[in-house]
């Protein structure tokens, strides 16, 4: 990694997701690659959900942050492949989600089970109980499902696997 690339990574790790302002676009796995080519910094980002309204805001924030750090000249490009998956969220990102009150995505196999119609266990981010129930597969943003805890009775968001 060149000095410029490492500087860019550290700048980008400060750029927050507009909907979940405790987690950075690097933690979320939105920033795919940062490469220096012939003195130009090339940053590739990927959308989470196709229709996520935050996508454009994130791209603008990335551009603003790179400008503010005087890292010009740079290019920010959107790539579709490999398509974003919740497994691209870093371990520290998952921890920050939970601290913020959003249940982090369970491992991939759990949701495949769910898609086959089997029940899955999602831990309540408030009280830690495993006795929770899905209210709706679709929640407050495209990336979340809506759950409720049967122990502490609090509703909560679950960052669903994609």
């Amino acid at each position: 990694m060149t000095l410029l690339e490492s500087k860019a990574w550290s700048v980008l790790s400060e750029v927050e997701d507009p909907e979940i302002p405790v987690i950075s676009v690097v933690d979320l796995g939105i920033v795919r690659t940062v490469v220096e080519e012939e003195g130009i910094l090339k940053v590739a980002i990927t959308p989470t959900y196709s229709g996520c309204p935050a996508t454009q805001v994130i791209e603008d924030s990335v551009v603003d942050a790179l400008k503010a750090a005087h890292l010009e000249p740079f290019e920010v490009k959107t790539v579709l492949s490999p398509s974003w998956s919740t497994s691209m969220i870093s371990e520290s990102g998952k921890f920050k989600l939970k601290e913020y009150g959003i249940a982090p995505p369970a491992d991939d196999s759990t949701d495949k089970m769910a898609l086959m119609g089997e029940e899955r266990q999602i831990t309540c981010p408030n009280c830690g109980s495993k006795d929770t129930k899905m209210v709706s597969q679709f929640g407050s943003t495209p990336c979340k499902a809506h759950f409720k805890c049967k122990d502490c009775l609090e509703p909560f968001d679950y960052f669903k696997c994609l």
Partner: protein, 245 residues
């Protein structure tokens, strides 16, 4: 027709399906039967409109005339649209919306599964991304067919009526048109019938058997409903060209 114009038409066909159905479902925003389902439909609409953007970006690149995705959504007229008729029929009651979504999602899922191995690199990327979202759509609409069909006598009657009336629009997807040749998969109908039948039977409903199907959307021959959608959807960009926030 050359290869490029076929690819352009396919990108528009897929983008138009997503845009028009996305717009239709978004009409439920604020009118859903319960809050959770209002949110579910808005989410599905968002996914579809996001997918439309990806197809239209691709169409713009193939066309190479400096247009962007908004051009394809807002600056074309009825005859230019290539969506399935299924996508444009009105929402009706909740059962009609579910029946339309169910037939579409079952096809869309199979189509994207095949396109995930397409030789067309871009269609492959878009399909791989969209398939993850459509897996959730298909589960949602299938569950509702079962819940309403195997529900109260009233919900059952309404779901059966919606399944029957919408049926005539479900087959167009399987009737190939020239521009699809070699780009879109063929032979999805058997698997679709099998999957649809499974859900309809679990819902204790009767599977429609009529074989005559309405068609024309893929080549620009639409129902009268599309013009009304476009009138609403395109009003602002046509009244105030190049308006920005």
């Amino acid at each position: 027709m050359n290869d490029n114009s076929n690819r352009l038409n396919v990108a528009l066909h897929l983008g138009d399906n997503a845009l028009i159905l996305g717009h239709r479902i978004s009409e439920w925003c604020g009118h859903g039967p319960v809050l959770e389902q209002d949110i579910a439909m808005t989410n599905i609409a968002l996914d579809l409109i996001g997918q439309a953007k990806m197809y239209f970006d691709y169409a713009a690149e193939i066309e190479g005339q400096g247009h962007d995705h908004d051009y394809f959504a807002y600056r074309r007229d009825v005859l230019d649209f290539k969506n399935l008729l299924l996508c444009e029929i009105p929402n009706g009651d909740f059962a009609y919306t579910i029946a339309r979504q169910f037939y579409f999602d079952q096809w869309h899922f199979l189509l994207l599964t095949e396109l995930s191995n397409s030789e067309d690199e871009r269609l492959k990327e878009i399909a791989q991304k969209s398939l993850k979202e459509v897996t959730y759509h298909r589960r949602w609409s299938s569950e509702w067919v079962i819940r309403l069909g195997d529900g109260t006598p009233e919900s059952k009657e309404k779901m059966q009526r919606a399944i029957d009336d919408t049926w005539y629009y479900s087959g167009e997807a399987f009737i190939p048109v020239d521009y699809e040749n070699g780009i879109l998969p063929i032979g999805l109908k058997d698997q679709w019938m099998k999957n649809v039948k499974e859900v309809i039977e679990e819902a204790t409903l009767k599977m429609p058997t009529d074989e005559w199907m309405q068609e024309g959307g893929k080549t620009g021959n639409h129902t009268e409903h599309l013009g009304f959608i476009l009138a609403e959807m395109q009003y602002l960009p046509r009244a105030y060209p190049d308006a920005t926030w």
